[in-house]
């Protein structure tokens, strides 16, 4: 297609999904005339009208709850939650309705709802604007959870998410909205699959969303020191593509997982437990986590002391290498 920022790639994915299927409607706060606070839906209301790009009153539970009703009626709603920290007022509708209605209706009702959430820190924002709530949803049976890291995936996986008949939480790394990349108009590999970003033989390094680039940088830095890191972009956080991770860990014997979310109860722990179960004989060292601390997201001037960065990831690599 062309070179696009991650934000514009999402915009293109939304546009294409709306062109292909008139049942796709967008709901959210400020997504119309303003085009969303990150301009992700820029121009879409002008193109598709206020009936399909719906500026809603300020109420997240209602955004999700009306999307449930629209899904009952055969629509494929795409909800925008303005920032990660504002998803919690909609939590009940997500957990008790969106996630469960297919099961609760014994398969009669589908909930093809995509919930877009700009997430993560690193933009110097005020409180509630830098959170990483993905683990809550990965623990919620009935949901699929995606986190994208680059423009191409942003485009392709969004289209897959919208086309999927299951509800999908789609996390967008807001600090990477402005990063550019080539975007082809393709659906790519299944959104459930992880991607090997750089091949390596000594350590498997898992990342998703905003930290994939940092992880790739770490692989470059480590290779200078003679350590070969295989970086995997998880892409899907529920379900997790264990075959890809297993293949890597069987080869490397060493695993590092990184994410911004608090460590306790985060995605990292789940993966380490699952991989330990599946690859125990192959592990040469205890898997290591490089994550945010178990604290509320800190003020902007302290966020570098919270977020995993290149050095902390390299430190984690050192630890798993026993150095």
């Amino acid at each position: 297609m062309s070179t696009l920022t991650l934000a514009k790639a999402i915009n293109a994915g939304l546009r294409r999904a709306m062109q292909d299927d008139e049942k796709v409607v967008l709901l959210g706060e400020d997504i119309g005339a303003l085009g969303g606070v990150f301009r992700v839906s820029d121009g879409l209301q002008a193109e598709f009208g206020a009936r399909r790009v719906i500026d809603t009153p300020l109420a997240e539970s209602a955004i999700i709850g009306t999307a449930v009703g629209l899904a009952y009626r055969g629509y494929r709603p795409v909800c925008e939650i303005q920032f990660d920290g504002f998803i919690y007022p909609g939590f009940d509708q997500i957990v008790s309705q969106v996630a469960k209605l297919h099961y609760r209706s014994r398969g009669a009702v589908k909930m093809p709802i995509t919930i877009r959430v700009p997430f993560g820190g690193g933009i110097g924002a005020a409180e509630h604007h830098s959170e990483s709530p993905e683990a809550y949803f990965a623990h919620t049976s009935g949901l699929r959870v995606i986190a994208v890291s680059n423009p191409q995936d942003a485009y392709s996986l969004l289209r897959q998410a919208i086309a999927n008949d299951d509800p999908v939480l789609y996390f967008e790394p807001k600090r990477r909205y402005h990063v550019k990349g080539e975007v082809a108009e393709e659906l790519g590999t299944s959104m459930e699959s992880a991607t090997v970003v750089t091949a390596g033989t000594d350590v498997t390094l898992l990342a998703y969303g905003p930290l994939v680039t940092t992880a790739a940088d770490a692989a470059v830095a480590a290779s200078d020191e003679g350590v070969s890191i295989e970086v995997i972009d998880l892409r899907s956080l529920a379900p997790i593509d264990y075959p890809t991770i297993e293949a890597s860990v069987r080869k490397t014997g060493r695993l590092v997982v990184t994410h911004e979310a608090a460590q306790s109860g985060g995605i990292g722990g789940e993966i380490i437990a699952a991989i330990t179960e599946r690859c125990f004989p192959f592990l040469e060292a205890a898997p290591v986590r490089v994550t945010g601390w178990d604290i509320p997201y800190p003020p902007a001037k302290l966020e570098t002391h919270f977020l995993p960065d290149l050095d902390r990831i390299l430190d984690g690599v050192d630890r798993v290498m026993g150095r």
């Binding site: 009952y72 009626r73 297919h102 014994r106 398969g107 009669a108 009702v109 075959p243």
Partner: protein, 391 residues
């Protein structure tokens, strides 16, 4: 079109006397003798369903039952005015609504027997999976109505909820959205005076119907034990919705004559006198009196209604006790629409685990059998002591 009505609307007194109302009569002018008889029959039948289901619960055939005793007029009067292409979103107590929507009786029973998380296919009868999370369905109804609007059809969605539900944020957000988008939705609130042990006065110090106009949603406060008032008000609301004039809030003032559910003991929190007072306002009794005054309440008619109610009760009972237990591995069905590797692995694990029992049982291994029976016993002990599921 009737806008917000502050007065309490009643077209049929507890004594069975039709009271004229210039604004409302026109909306029930088609209710002739046969229709009235048929409405009466429905009310008697659903009351019989309640009795039968309560008996089934006492006999251990159902885990729980939420009776609608006293709310027959509110539910039947409203549901009978709907079209097949309308769509209904309810709470757990609207079994009479389900009945009017043409539900298969066995499908009502599945949930309360513990066989399934829901009964009917929503698309078969135009009625969603009941919402136990109080108030949640009002948003679903609003969204569905937005969909009807977008589709350019004049179908309407109806949200049923209780007095207690009005306190939940969701119900208020539903009013906001419905007003903002002029959604063709009817908010049908059954004020049955109680939310488990809490009287309606704790939820609201003003009549519930007064809440909606401030959101820009016209409302009516009606005698919910008067099936004619219920029908008239619902038709007004439906007509408003169909003609593009947006949502309506109806407060049907009624009374929960029974316990909250079969697990509840209302004597702990409410006066016997209150119940007596409401028995005098019974929704069925007044139609009986009206029919009688019209010379229609004949022995033959009564026998016919009784026969129908008995037949329905028998069908319900039969459907209940013959309902096969679900297959163990069906526990994994319908979580996702497409295969999910993590879940499939768990299913495979459990399949192998269950198979290992069969294998070991084949070998008649003592210790395993022991362990299995300990489990069964402790599970039973648990359900006995804990007394089964509440709402």
């Amino acid at each position: 079109m009737v806008e917000t009505v502050s007065d309490f609307v009643q077209l049929l007194t507890p004594e069975g006397v039709r009271t004229p109302s210039p604004d409302f009569d026109q909306w029930v002018s088609d209710v002739d003798a046969p229709q009235l008889a048929s409405l009466y029959e429905d009310m008697v039948v659903v009351r019989r369903i309640d009795t039968e289901a309560t008996a089934l619960q006492r006999q251990g055939e159902l885990g729980l039952w939420p009776p609608l005793l006293g709310q027959e007029a509110a539910q039947i009067g409203s549901a009978r005015t709907l079209r097949g292409d309308d769509f209904v979103f309810t709470s757990y107590r609207e079994n009479a609504v389900a009945y009017c929507r043409g539900v298969d009786l066995t499908d009502i029973i599945r949930v309360w027997r513990g066989n399934a998380q829901s009964g009917w296919n929503p698309y078969d009868i135009g009625m969603a999976v009941p919402a136990i999370i109080i108030g949640a369905q009002t948003l679903h109804a609003t969204g569905y109505a937005m969909g009807c609007q977008q589709d350019g059809v004049d179908s309407v969605s109806v949200a049923y909820f209780g007095d207690g539900a009005t306190s939940e944020g969701d119900v208020n957000e539903a009013l906001v959205f419905a007003a903002a988008f002029k959604a063709p939705v009817v908010f049908f609130c059954q004020n049955n005076h109680w939310a488990i042990s809490e009287p309606v006065g704790l939820q609201a110090i003003r009549p519930l119907a007064d809440r909606a106009p401030g959101f820009g949603v016209p409302s009516m406060r009606i005698d919910g034990n008067d099936i004619l008032a219920v029908m008239a008000a619902t038709r007004i609301a439906l007509e408003r919705a169909r003609s593009g004039n947006g949502p309506t809030f109806i407060e049907a003032v009624t009374y929960r004559m029974g316990p909250h559910t079969t697990a509840d003991d209302p004597t702990r929190y409410r006066d016997a006198a209150e119940l007596e007072e409401w028995k005098a306002k019974d929704p069925i009794l007044r139609v009986e009196r009206l029919l009688d005054s019209l010379g229609l309440f004949t022995a033959e008619f009564q026998a016919g209604v009784k026969a129908k109610a008995d037949a329905v009760a028998a069908e319900l009972r039969h459907g209940c006790i013959t309902l096969p237990d679900p297959e163990p591995l069906s526990v994994f069905d319908s979580v996702y629409t497409t295969p999910n590797a993590t879940l499939d692995r768990q299913k495979a694990e459990y399949t192998a685990y269950l198979a290992s029992f069969e294998a070991r049982d084949g070998q008649n291994s003592d210790d395993v059998t022991d362990a299995a029976s300990v489990t069964a016993a402790s599970v039973n002990a648990v359900s006995v002591t804990a007394g089964g599921g509440r709402l």
